[in-house]
Subunit: 150 residues, 2 copies
């Protein structure tokens, strides 16, 4: 039931809170945790836009920037893996977060998804983030949604 957990993280405070629940579930039989970060395509595009304004090889600049962003994300994933005392696998994907979360849940045949409720959207009116909402709607796997407040 709690054997293999998918923990998608955007490295936000909400996601950190959800990690506490992942840790705690070890006593309920968690053996494997897949730690997933999805780099948003649109975000990468925005980050690499300056390459087009600069002199020199635009392609190479974009490539370098992407590599740097990936390396940063990988380091963060590895830091999280260190915190867990079960088997871990870190996965870095590029695309639409909720789509990649759904895909990874299928690929890895996880038994539970544990995630924060807000993600990057910090607006109080948004009581639940669209990524989380879309995951809950479309996955067949149980989802533990962890709120920011408690």
């Amino acid at each position: 039931m709690f054997k293999k957990i998918l923990y998608p993280t955007d490295f936000s405070e909400d996601a950190k809170k959800a990690l506490e629940y992942v840790k705690k579930l070890k006593v309920a039989g968690t053996e494997d945790v897949v730690i997933l970060h999805v780099m948003q395509s649109s975000h990468i595009e925005a980050m690499t836009t300056p390459c087009e304004w600069m002199e020199g090889d635009t392609e190479k600049c974009i490539e370098k920037m992407e590599e740097r962003l990936k390396k940063e994300a990988k380091n963060k994933l590895n830091e999280i893996a260190k915190e867990l005392s079960v088997n871990t696998k870190t996965v870095l994907k590029i695309g639409k977060p909720f789509m990649e979360i759904l895909k990874t849940a299928e690929e890895e045949k996880v038994s539970l998804i544990v995630m924060g409720s807000h993600g990057m959207g910090k607006i109080e009116e948004l009581l639940i983030g669209s990524v989380t909402e879309n995951v809950i709607r479309h996955t067949k796997v149980p989802v533990l949604v962890v709120k920011r407040y408690r």
Copy 2:
């Protein structure tokens, strides 16, 4: 983290599936489970409508019908309580399900809500029930949403 669980049930198959998770969480430290059923006001009204068509005391008829529905629900709640090996409290409320679930979560100061994703709506297109969706949106408590399929 998993000390006091609110388990709202509409006695559906989905809710039964969620109960398995409630049971399993005992190893993660669950001490108390509040088992809640909300009788929908509109549902009770529909059920007591025939009283108005019958001869005799309408008020008394409605009262009797309501008592019967309550008794049935209470019996079902007690059956569920018997299945659990932690402290249980059964709560029967009348009103809007999601509102009463939110209220009960506050009143009982629960640390987690475990519930099915569909509720009574059996239409396949409805990937998640409105009761569950509204609870996730408005509660401050973590919610474990259990899907029908696995």
